[in-house]
């Protein structure tokens, strides 16, 4: 069995990263030119890594499946990015951001990684401002901040409701500059369908050109996956339609460990599901909870219009249960509370699956114009989708799948157990433990790409002189044949059901059995149901057209096939983790008041899964989490 070495530097917490940087092996400029780096993904993590490494002198090949790197899913992030700048002079510090993130993650992340993240958060803002990111400003010209869930300070930087867009366009601009300079070769409309491992090292990928269907082989000295999260496993999520697990799933099947797949985040403020035609769920930024108040009627099945329900008959349940944080309680807690009140029959809107987010008081305080200035575009979006005006009646919101904390296992260098394979951004499991705080994903993606991997890469590459591989090796041959075989199998089914329909079925099952609340029973049910649906998929799926042309049905079917396999691993992980922590809530493990009951004696560890072959059970490998500097307290957002 593999021993997992997280490679955490020794020494005091605040000195670890500094010490690492001062002693890390470097590759000199002349030698950087001799190395080729593959970066899969052009979101915040991928674009920032590709641009920075090219700037340092490496030759970079960057891949994305969209028609332009600027369209990666990161573009859709709304609310903001955290940084411990303490510009507001409200008591923020690196330590506080570190502690909030660790606590928000229910003490299931590595101290050293999270501390490093908090440290470099400050450089990110400097970097982005230098790129021309138009962050919101005060009248005096200073950078503005807002508060986000799980924090008592204002440390979130934002660009209206389009922070992800502006940060990604900043990284995209840098990437474009490097493409122009010839140091990055950008491959758009290109989907990685397998990882090539040579002598135990990740040395290349197999790619399908989505426009022509052509399969190509790409060799390099190192491969970086920055391919985002897998929320779309649940079919309906706030993620872009194209988000999928294929890249990391292929790497898993080639030997990379998959860590904590059951840590999924369900966002409390999304527009509720309207019907079974729905293709995605739309997030209403968490920043709305700064000024909106969440409530449901006190009475069950109250059918009155919200404006007819008097103040004393409303239950502002977050303010009631968590007075210290109120409407800004962390996401997992807010989502679960919404589920509880709906389970009690107090939900509102169609099917009773919704709660109110009310701006009445905010409008009284700030005026309609004030609210419009802060959230105008979100209100517009809400009206466009639901046909309701949220200035006049409260929004209806409900939790939805949003983010996945789990991902490929990486050490402190962001390298997986497969040497040469780096994993960045949402695709790795590293920093958010069992729950991610708002505005921390953008921070992590950019930290990984701009400031971490450019320092850690030298440690590996400095050992790789003379280890060049070429694409005519048997490993490339075999990987390409495997990809072709899988594609042909899908094309040969010739069924009549679209992969989307199977995907929806899989997603609904997972949402019910392994969503906001999980039990041994529900997980065992899911584990018997998934293989049945999968079998039907492989017998009935319809993929018209050929493999050697632009074929979106084939792309979708390949991704859904991988989701089926991941779904099983996720349920298995959830079953094995017999405790409740962060986004993983097992109904058997809760305190009398319904709060999550962690079990630090047994589960204060990372669960990393190793693939054992088709039809075989994966092996569980544990990495203990050693808390040297903080004491993992029970999360308390009440006081």
């Amino acid at each position: 069995m593999i021993e997992l070495d997280p490679k955490i530097p020794t020494g005091p917490l605040e000195k670890k990263w500094q010490h690492f940087k001062e002693h890390a092996k470097l590759v000199n400029p002349a030698n950087k030119r001799k190395f080729r780096v593959i970066v899969v993904g052009s979101g915040l993590a991928g674009a920032s890594a590709a641009a920075t490494l090219a700037e340092q002198g490496y030759n970079v090949d960057c891949f994305c499946f969209q028609d332009s790197p600027r369209r990666a899913h990161s573009i859709a992030a709304q609310g903001g990015i955290n940084a411990a700048k303490n510009y507001q002079n409200d008591g923020d510090s690196v330590w506080r951001l570190f502690y909030d993130t660790l606590k928000g993650g229910d003490f299931r992340a590595r101290e050293a990684n999270v501390h490093r993240l908090a440290e470099v958060s400050r450089n990110i803002i400097d970097q982005c401002v230098a790129q021309g990111v138009p962050f919101a400003r005060e009248y005096g010209g200073q950078l503005a901040n807002r508060s986000f869930g799980g924090a008592q300070v204002s440390r979130t930087f934002y660009a209206r409701g389009q922070t992800g867009q502006q940060l990604l366009l900043g990284a995209y601009a840098s990437l474009s500059h490097q493409i122009k300079s010839g140091r990055v070769k950008m491959h758009t409309h290109s989907e990685m369908l397998d990882l090539v491992v040579v002598d135990g090292h990740a040395k290349g990928i197999i790619v399908r050109n989505l426009l022509t269907g052509e399969l190509t082989r790409h060799a390099a000295d190192t491969v970086m996956l920055a391919t985002g999260g897998y929320s779309n496993l649940y079919y309906l999520s706030t993620n872009a339609r194209g988000c999928n697990t294929t890249a990391i799933w292929r790497a898993y099947k080639r030997g990379a460990l998959f860590a904590n797949p059951c840590y999924t985040q369900i966002h409390p403020t999304c527009i509720p599901v309207a019907g079974d035609f729905q293709s995605k769920l739309t997030l209403m930024s968490e920043s709305l909870r700064n000024d909106g108040r969440v409530w449901v009627p006190k009475k069950k099945g109250d059918q009155r219009a919200p404006q007819d329900i008097p103040e004393e008959e409303r239950d502002y349940y977050l303010e009631r249960k968590y007075p210290a944080y109120g409407n800004l309680a962390p996401r997992d807690i807010s989502s679960r509370s919404a589920k509880e009140v709906c389970d009690e029959g107090r939900g509102v809107g169609p099917g009773g699956l919704g709660v109110y987010l009310d701006f009445k008081d905010a409008i009284a305080r700030l005026g309609k114009k004030g609210v419009e200035e802060r959230y105008g575009n979100l209100f517009e979006m809400y009206e466009n989708i639901t046909g309701e005006n949220a200035y006049e009646r409260p929004m209806r919101i409900f939790p939805a799948l949003h983010y996945t904390m789990g991902g490929l296992w990486v050490d402190y260098h962001l390298m997986s157990n497969l040497p040469g394979l780096y994993v960045l951004g949402e695709a790795n499991f590293s920093d958010h433990g069992a729950n991610r705080l708002g505005a921390s994903a953008l921070m992590q993606g950019l930290a990984d790409g701009y400031f971490i991997v450019p320092y850690t890469l030298g440690e590996y590459l400095s050992t790789q002189f003379g280890n060049k591989v070429t694409t005519d090796s048997p490993e490339f041959e075999e990987a390409e044949a495997a990809v072709r075989g899988r594609m042909n199998r899908l094309l040969e089914v010739r069924g009549t059901v679209s992969s989307e329909q199977f995907h929806r079925e899989l997603g609904t099952l997972l949402w019910e059995k392994c969503g906001m609340a999980r039990s041994r029973e529900s997980l065992l049910e899911a584990l018997t149901e998934i293989p049945k649906i999968r079998e039907r998929f492989w017998n009935e799926v319809g993929v018209p057209g050929t493999g050697s042309s632009f074929n979106q049905a084939l792309e979708a079917a390949g991704r859904v096939a991988d989701f089926f396999e991941l779904g099983e691993l996720l349920c298995r992980d959830a079953l094995t983790r017999e405790e409740s922590c962060g986004g993983h809530f097992r109904v058997e493990y809760q305190l009398p008041d319904g709060e999550a009951l962690r079990n630090d004696d047994q589960f204060n560890c990372v669960h990393a899964w190793q693939y054992q072959g088709e039809g075989k059970e994966p092996t569980l490998i544990k990495e203990p989490l050693n808390y040297e500097f903080v004491h993992p307290a029970t999360r308390n957002y009440k006081h």
């Binding site: 700037e55 600027r70 230098a130 790129q131 474009s176 293709s279 989307e500």
Partner: protein, 249 residues
């Protein structure tokens, strides 16, 4: 609701395309336009027919992936991108025509999908600030007035969808280019390369075969990101100032 669709079908750039007539039946009013197309495609798959190719990703109006012309309007009726169009805004039984962008610089890939890489190449020509990762001064070192920051953000909101050039009788990309030039020209960080940026982006735009602006304002009318045509005036000013300066030098 039921709709009669006239959808452009074209296998690839080299063959001739045609309008196919497809009935979209039993469509919920709350479905989005793209969800309606999903339903149409699922039914085509049931009949083992090739589904209609169209691209989308975020389905929230921000990524700029979905590009199509609905009833003659690039990105469809109403404010926002094509993915933000809802079926309730059409009449029951209505005939709806759906076709790809028509602009020589956006060649057709398949059905409703066009190649918009020309916009990426224009950005590569100069739509950036040449900074170095790690070398930036503290973000609070330079103050930027709220008014300037807001105006920069207005221009930076462009989603790169290409509707501006698709709507323009001259296939001009000046709204897109003007938005980027304006965004960076308004910020102190954008000053050092201000001149080259305008010159290089305009040159790239010409090389890609986009036409000139003759003030139709069709771009502004369709732009899903509300980019104001005033950015075109800014672009002209920036370009002329830069060109004069380079002649003088």
């Amino acid at each position: 609701m039921n709709f009669h669709l006239r959808i452009w079908r074209q296998d690839h750039e080299k063959v001739k395309g045609f309008f196919e007539e497809i009935e979209a039946v039993n469509i919920p009013a709350d479905a989005s336009f793209l969800e309606m197309l999903d339903m149409v495609n699922n039914r085509l798959i049931e009949k083992q027919k090739v589904p209609v190719a169209f691209e989308s990703d975020c389905r929230e109006g921000i990524c700029g992936t979905c590009s199509m012309v609905i009833n003659g309007i690039p990105q469809g009726p109403g404010r926002g991108a094509a993915c933000q169009v809802y079926m309730r805004s059409f009449c029951d039984g209505e005939t709806i025509t759906v076709e790809p962008y028509r602009a020589a610089s956006f060649p057709i890939i398949k059905d409703l999908v066009t190649n918009r890489k020309a916009y990426d190449r224009i950005v590569q020509a100069g739509g950036f600030i040449s900074e170095h990762t790690g070398g930036a001064p503290d973000a609070s070192a330079t103050l930027i007035g709220k008014h300037e920051a807001d105006r920069a953000m207005d221009a930076a909101a462009c989603i790169g969808c290409g509707a501006c050039a698709a709507a323009c009788p001259n296939s001009s990309a000046m709204l897109f280019v003007g938005a980027k030039v304006t965004h960076l020209a308004l910020l102190p960080q954008g000053q050092p390369e201000r001149k080259e940026r305008a010159l290089n982006m305009v040159r790239a735009m010409d090389e890609e075969g986009f036409g000139n602006c003759s003030n139709y304002y069709a771009c502004e009318a369709v732009c899903p990101a509300n980019i104001s045509a005033s950015v075109i005036a800014t672009l002209n000013r920036e370009y002329v100032a830069a060109a004069c300066r380079s002649v003088a030098e």
